[in-house]
Symmetry: C2
DNA sequence: TTTAGATACTTGACAATGCAAGGTAGTTGG
DNA sequence: CCAACTACCTTGCATTGTCAAGTATCTAAA
């Protein structure tokens, strides 16, 4: 898959996933992988960044299957960010799609 | 606009535009700008890269409005690249869209 | 002819982000 | 104890877009 396409979009995806329900990192990796090819070394730094930016809060929950799970919970600021990013994304995609159609129509 | 979204997609856009008809750099900047916010300092290096990669060939044409224009023409290799990238792009977008719907459905 | 302005393109330092590869820890079963 | 699985995290690297500055060429006005 094209790595470049993912740039920036993963932020939206992760924000969206967590906004639906609290999740821990590993869970997110598995969930997101169903739709887009991702590496866990991509997700963890991203989660850290989004937490630093106050879009997420975290809490630990013990697990019987390994080390404690760090859950991420979306904040109010995070919800605003989702809305903004989602809007940007749709606008961007529709612009690109229009361009593609424009360039492909006579074939 | 989100800078990151553009990563990789601009390559597709430029390839598509040139595959429709031969174009010179400045013309491309203006054309692409109609759909996506771009900087001319982004387009020129990209054109150079795509030419190095044998996706484009170039030729010069005199102009009455300034210096000679360097036209870019798509190669066979370039056409294959377009097809590949376009396919990747649609697959990627539909994956993301599915994810977005998945996360937004109960609201 | 020299100056100004538009056009056309190049270059280099910079920032963001994804990836591969590695490391740490806890739990369970052999 | 050791292997396998879960879960988490860090580091260095490559790619690609941005911005600022600079080069060069043409036209037209002074």
């Amino acid at each position: 898959m094209n790595t470049q396409f993912k740039k920036g979009v993963l932020e939206l995806i992760v924000l969206l996933a967590v906004s639906k329900k609290d999740m821990y990192g590993y869970e997110l990796v598995l969930e997101v992988s169903k739709f887009v090819d991702v590496n866990d070394g991509t997700i963890y730094p991203l989660l850290k960044r989004l937490t630093n930016d106050k879009y997420f809060e975290t809490y630990l929950v013990d697990s019987t299957e390994g080390p404690a799970r760090k859950y991420y919970k979306i904040t109010v600021l995070g919800k605003e960010r989702v809305k903004e990013l989602k809007q940007n994304w749709t606008t961007f995609v529709s612009g690109v799609d229009k361009f593609i159609k424009e360039c492909t129509k006579d074939e």
